[in-house]
């Protein structure tokens, strides 16, 4: 059968293919092989039932072909053999030994494929003589392991055909994938080389990888989630998902991976190689080298099913690791943060205490006054300039003065606080009289003159000790309640002012109490805010009103424009309808605006009227007498306002209807001679047609015209009608009309003369009809 197909001619092949439902296509040198193959496949499939034991190999082959056609990467077993051979040769000849290590894992992964082929048919095994001895060894070991690891359905002894089918189904996806990876790695030396650079780094980290892997591997084996993920990955990356035996195949792959990993502890070589290969792949995958996207793509798509499960293990483990690490670092960060936070709080507290102490200290007058460093001018009798109470203080009276100061200080402070807080009537100082009043209210004071002396002494002390924080001042204005004063800096001045009762004591740097400060700040802020708010409101108002004004203007102008449009509509409509060329302005207003709106719309109306007067060229305003009353009217003077009648027939010059002088009662002949429908230089090519149409349109199908002809030399048109009555109709409709600016005259013509002139003119129908259906004027030539 196959030979038969091979020797078929192109035509036979085409018919055969057509029989089997293939699209008919050209059979060329390049397509013939393919089509022959297809036909063979179909014929094989048809002629050989699957139950026959003899055709087992062939069935397998066809099955393999099917799978290749549908989903797997590589198709036939012969192809696979070829590739295996190529792999072996390239592995031996082309690649340096350094690459061998990375190339080992694929060869190992390829071993199940070989196992498959072992199981499948011994003849294939024999044919693949290119394989090396070493590979055969790995194959055998692998098979042994696999016997333990794989599930029971994997029967190697292909005793029955059904067994083969099952086995085929479970193993073929994996086999094909492994083969492809195998194949790619062997036939893509460039890819292998591209992955070899990261290898050095891999080697340096080699100690980490195995531990990582072994630790992560055992949980991943038991976890069903990972199995599921493998399954899904397998389903996604290769088209295995649509096979019914997906679960066996995934189980198979997981089993397979266990079998690769368990022996990996036995020898160093085997430990390193799978990890290295995986890691390099993963590395290249993760790096996703932008310079070599296609090679990466190739690798990934080809190795996808075998690499991805492992990758999923790794990513899973990494994720949990990351989470642990994250929580740990979070806690640590919190701890560190606590310490630093506490430090900041401590520093803040320290400064706050300092500030508080400063405030308290400042107000403590007694400590300042009792300070030993105060300069106290003691009166000494032997110095002539010394005058007690003016520039010095008697020693025994210093303490009195100080106690007086302590007495008045709280009062003074409270006064200044009241003044600063803006209380009405509060003054920021204590006058001498007030001080004496305060002192005299004290129970221990006996003598007002003593108080006076103490005060004088105190003033001397205060001038000598500016650092006590009090000033002796001279009031500028005694009688008003102003707080204007100037500081007195020498004792001599005090004497001058003392006589004027204008000396007072005040604090040098009055501090405002906190509550007051707060209130003041609030007040000033409030007032500022109020001002700002006021200004903002003002601005907003202006803006709003401007906007409103603009929108009002816009609305108004829109109203005016719409009114103008309405007016023009009304004018053109009314003048056209009524026939009068003008219309009263008031009439237009009354038609447009309803009575209740007339007052309201007066301004709009006036504006519209003005606008029309100024800007509307088609409307002219004039005064006409309408019904004996002069009123303003609008005249519609539109250029294109004249109705689109026939451009040729422009109206009647005189009556031709029944009873008029020009109307003949009887039509004598059926023939007519029409003059002046054109003139000599009116030599358009379609003149005859044009005139015929004009006449037929004018007569409007209520007469039967047999023949129309044009005499260019005499500029006459000859018309022959079916009957004299028809000629009468034509006569009445044409005679005395303006046609293209010329007055038409029609005369009856005797039939004999007509026949003499036009002997070929028809005697009976068909009647002439207009060449165009629509009643339109001819376009200007």
């Amino acid at each position: 059968m196959a030979d038969q197909v091979d020797s078929m001619s192109d035509a036979e092949l085409r018919t055969k293919l057509a029989e089997h439902g293939f699209p008919i296509m050209p059979i060329t040198a390049s397509t013939r092989k393919l089509l022959v193959k297809k036909l063979k496949l179909v014929l094989d499939n048809k002629s050989k039932p699957r139950s026959s034991v003899d055709n087992k190999a062939d069935t397998r082959r066809s099955l393999a072909r099917y799978s290749s056609g549908e989903e797997s990467d590589l198709d036939t077993t012969t192809n696979a053999k070829e590739k295996r051979g190529r792999r072996a040769t390239t592995g031996g000849a082309m690649l340096p030994p350094a690459v061998n290590k990375t190339r080992r894992p694929p060869s190992k992964k390829g071993s199940p494929a070989k196992r498959d082929s072992d199981k499948g048919s011994e003849s294939e095994e024999e044919k693949s003589g290119l394989r090396t001895r070493e590979e055969v060894e790995t194959v055998t070991t692998r098979t042994i392991k696999r016997t333990y690891a794989a599930n029971d359905a994997d029967d190697y002894e292909t005793g029955s055909d059904s067994d083969v089918d099952v086995d085929k189904k479970t193993s073929s996806p994996f086999r094909s994938n492994s083969r492809s990876s195998d194949y790619i790695s062997s036939t893509l030396p460039s890819v292998d080389v591209s992955t070899s650079p990261p290898k050095s780094s891999v080697f340096s980290r080699a100690s980490i990888i195995p531990t990582n892997y072994s630790s992560t591997y055992s949980p991943s084996m038991t976890s069903s989630d990972n199995l599921n993920s493998i399954r899904s990955r397998l389903g996604l990356t290769s088209n295995l998902a649509d096979r019914p035996s997906i679960i066996p195949s995934s189980g198979f792959s997981s089993n397979y991976s266990t079998s690769t990993y368990q022996p990996s502890t036995s020898t160093i070589n085997e430990v390193e190689s799978p990890y290295l290969s995986n890691f390099t792949r993963r590395l290249s995958a993760l790096k996703s080298d932008p310079t070599k996207p296609p090679s990466y793509l190739d690798r990934d798509t080809n190795n996808g099913s075998t690499v991805l499960p492992r990758r999923s293990y790794i990513t899973g483990v990494n994720r949990s690791d990351v989470v642990d690490y994250k929580t740990a670092t979070d806690m640590k960060f919190l701890k560190n943060n606590l310490v630093s936070l506490a430090l900041v709080v401590l520093v803040a507290l320290f400064f706050f205490c300092l500030f508080f102490m400063y405030i308290v200290k400042k107000n403590d007058i007694t400590s300042v006054v009792d300070d030993q460093n105060s300069a106290i001018p003691i009166c000494q009798l032997n110095i002539p300039g010394n005058r007690p109470g003016i520039n010095c203080v008697p020693k025994e009276q210093v303490s009195y003065a100080k106690s007086l100061l302590k007495l008045i200080h709280p009062e003074l402070t409270s006064r200044i606080a009241a003044y600063k807080c803006g209380q009405p009537g509060a003054l920021p100082y204590l006058t001498e009289r007030e001080i004496i009043d305060i002192a005299s209210t004290k129970p221990e004071t006996t003598d007002i003159s003593q108080c006076r002396t103490d005060l004088n002494n105190l003033q001397v002390l205060l001038i000598n000790n500016p650092r006590w924080g009090l000033n002796v001042v001279q009031l500028k204005n005694l009688y008003t309640k102003d707080a204007e004063y100037s500081t007195i800096s020498s004792t001599d001045l005090i004497v001058q002012h003392r006589t004027k009762n204008s000396v007072a004591i005040t604090l040098a740097d009055p501090s405002t109490p906190l509550s007051c400060l707060f209130v003041n700040t609030l007040y000033s802020a409030g007032s500022t805010l109020a001002v700002i708010a006021l200004l903002t409101l003002l601005a907003l108002g202006i803006q709003r009103s401007y906007k409103y004004y603009m929108s009002y203007q816009k609305r108004k102008s829109e109203e005016i424009y719409s009114m103008v449009e309405q007016i023009i509509d009304v004018i053109s409509q009314e003048t056209e309808d009524s026939g009068e060329p003008y219309i009263s302005v008031d009439h237009v207003r009354d038609t447009l605006i309803s009575p209740q709106n007339r007052e309201k719309m007066a301004s709009v109306w006036d504006a519209a009227v003005k606008f029309i007067q100024r800007n509307e060229s088609r409307v002219r305003m004039e005064v006409q007498s309408v019904d004996g009353e002069d009123c303003r009217v609008w005249r519609w003077i539109s250029a294109h306002s004249s109705p689109k009648r026939s451009a040729s027939w422009q109206g009647q010059a005189f009556e031709t209807q029944e009873g008029s002088v020009n109307n003949l009662v009887v039509s004598p002949t059926p023939c007519l001679k029409i003059r002046h429908m054109f003139d000599k230089n009116d030599d358009t090519t379609i003149l005859r047609m044009k005139i015929q149409d004009a006449i037929l349109e004018k007569c409007d199908s209520n007469c039967n015209i047999l023949h129309i002809d044009v005499d260019r030399t005499t500029c006459c048109v000859y018309v022959k009608c079916a009957s004299p009555a028809d000629a009468g109709v034509v006569y009445r409709s044409l005679h005395g009309w303006w046609y293209e600016g010329r007055l038409i005259t029609v005369k009856y013509l005797r039939l004999e003369r007509y026949m003499q002139r036009f002997p070929q003119s028809p005697a009976a129908g068909p009647y002439l009809t207009p060449s165009r259906p629509a009643r339109r004027a001819w376009p200007d030539q």
């Binding site: 393919l34 990467d73 798509t301």
Partner: protein, 90 residues
């Protein structure tokens, strides 16, 4: 097909002119080399084969597989690429 590759979009974006066969989506260096060995050095020759096979997906993929051992993804990419190009420019 959910999305197309950049190569695919590049190819479909303009007339193929004298583009080499490796410009086709799904045809990399290796497949390109094999196709060149088989005589298909320019993209338009592959297009010719594609057209001779009457834009039949199965046959074209089969042919690509036979000619340069492309896997199903590569051949599907190549097929889609040529098909989109034809839809655009033919």
């Amino acid at each position: 097909m959910s999305s197309t590759s950049q190569k695919h979009r590049n190819f479909v974006a303009e007339p193929m002119g004298e583009k080499p066969v490796t410009e086709l989506a799904g045809v990399g260096e290796v497949l390109g080399k094999r196709l060149e060995v088989a005589g298909f050095d320019k993209a338009y020759t592959v297009l010719g084969q594609f057209l001779v096979l009457k834009k039949d997906k199965e046959l074209f993929q089969e042919w690509l597989k036979d000619t340069c051992n492309a896997n199903s993804k590569q051949s599907a990419d190549c097929y889609q690429c040529l098909k989109d190009w034809c839809d655009e420019f033919l």
